[in-house]
Symmetry: C2
Subunit: 315 residues, 2 copies
């Protein structure tokens, strides 16, 4: 008989659930827009409804579940199962989500942060499938990270491991809201590439189609680069190089074999992957740098669901 | 009945062995200067003799051993048990030490690098005793590191984890022999503090007793600082700050609760620990920085022996 798990991904935009068999088969999915206007109670109700929906769609009874795994934006406390204060869920403050779910369903529930869950999912069934030492990086507004070391999720003593966005690459660099200076995410996130592109345009007035884009985003820069704009290409090259520099520090700490990159910026393909790979070859330790592979993520929305289910399985 | 292990620490200067009970009691020790002039065969013979000596001193027979653990300077291959090419053991090139020991004694033998073994030993019985997430840093000519994550030694996919000396703190910094730029060990090792002290003296001609020390070492600078030399104190403060910056990146990746610092520079006490702690409080992530403890190592020479034995126990 199969064991069944439910994985839930709580996000500021959507709540996504999956009914997952112990071999990683996703038997049913549910996705609903997070109704933040309904407040904390409202979105907790949405999560519960979503769990019930996938279980029903999969033809399984709630009582048959071996566990429920939840991924939530951080900061969270994975040991107590508390959502502490996610930036994009302002109504959520110190919510004991593990207890709420266990009270509701009578099923053991495990919580961790969404970046860790995506990493665990990709390592189980996606880009990191054959790598026991794996890092997953998401380039968005910030840079999120999750790591699997020796086949186990890297959690740390209070659930704050793999915060690769807050590795310093320039100790004299600009102040980061986190308290540190020169953090990787100030340079290599979607926000970072826009910031530095504007800075260089202000200082150097380069010839570029971007001059016509007052509402510049990482996508605008990508489209200009794709259309042959030299300045936009250079900005991607610089961003990929700085990302590579941060990844070399991560590699030298974790000695991961595979790094998967996701998030909007990863859609830029070689524009970002090529300088990352070049930088790792230039700066990595001999005996390591030739062996590390950098690849795109593979699972999309399923990654966090699978990871949350796997986390419930292993914790 | 007790299980017995032997831990061996192969160094360029000494070969040290210990007979270790499964509860971590060191029942016998042996230490002999590495006779590098006797070549590879000679030092392998010394290691074997040292193992026989501790076993005999402890009143145990070789055949009663449950395992032998060896710590060696890197690079090594921990999975195959091969010493690849340690800088300070020039005769040692691709030596299959695991196989050599297993052929000699008929006892399962596990090899790993000395920094990892020291970390595992300190986590088992020393400065990291109650911390499942622990980083051990040695400030010497370079900066060595070893980490325990979730109670397990962090090994990585090919035995090169926790190379904290090669975290970048300034991506435009000087070239490091490792291939990277601005590596932590260029600033915060014993060699690093001497280099930057000389640079500042050349540029700024400060008033300092160090002007009288043509053969300056980290110890000379420490003695001047201890005797109240402002410039020397400032150099320690700067070095500790830069070390703290590197440690913040390591904390943000590994989320370790305790960091132990050893090596000659750690003897400087508060001169180095105070700026390290201040920097972690200034730059660490909220919710983490207040909880991380930075302490001196506790076990001295026993750390690597205990770690090597523990590694044989767990591998």
């Amino acid at each position: 008989m199969n064991k069944w798990y439910v994985g839930v991904d709580l996000g500021g935009t959507n709540i996504v659930s999956g009914l997952i068999r112990e071999d990683g088969e996703v038997a049913a999915r549910d996705k609903r827009p997070t109704r933040q206007e309904a407040g904390l109670e409202g979105s907790i109700r949405q999560m519960k409804d979503s769990v019930r929906a996938v279980v029903e769609r999969g033809g399984v009874s709630i009582h048959e579940l071996a566990g429920i795994g939840i991924g939530s934006p951080g900061p969270i406390d994975p040991f107590e199962g508390i959502v502490i204060a996610p930036e994009n869920l302002p109504a959520w403050r110190d919510v004991p989500l593990k207890r709420i779910f266990e009270d509701e369903f009578g099923i053991r529930t495990i919580l961790d942060n969404d970046a860790n869950m995506a990493a665990l999912g990709e390592q189980w069934k996606g880009a990191g499938k054959n790598a026991a030492d794996f890092l997953c990086v998401t380039l968005g507004t910030g840079i999120g990270g999750g790591a699997v070391c020796g086949g186990k999720l890297l959690k740390g003593f209070n659930g704050n491991a793999a915060e690769i966005g807050h590795i310093t690459i320039d100790h004299n660099g600009p102040q980061c809201p986190c308290g540190n200076r020169g953090c990787l995410e100030l340079y290599a996130s979607a926000t970072g590439i826009v910031r530095w592109t504007k800075v260089r345009m202000a200082i150097e007035s380069p010839e570029t189609a971007l001059t016509e884009s007052p509402d510049m985003t990482a996508r605008t820069i990508f489209e200009a680069a794709r259309d042959g704009d030299d300045f936009a290409r250079e900005m991607f090259d610089r961003t990929g190089t700085l990302l590579g520099i941060g990844l070399v520090s991560a590699i030298n700490m974790l000695n991961v074999e595979v790094i998967a990159i996701g998030g909007g910026m990863a859609d830029a393909g070689d524009l970002i992957f090529e300088p990352v790979q070049r930088t790792i070859l230039e700066r990595g330790l001999p005996g390591v740098r030739e062996k590390v592979r950098v690849v795109p993520v593979e699972l999309g929305e399923d990654a966090a669901l699978l990871g949350a289910a796997k986390n419930a399985m292993e914790t």
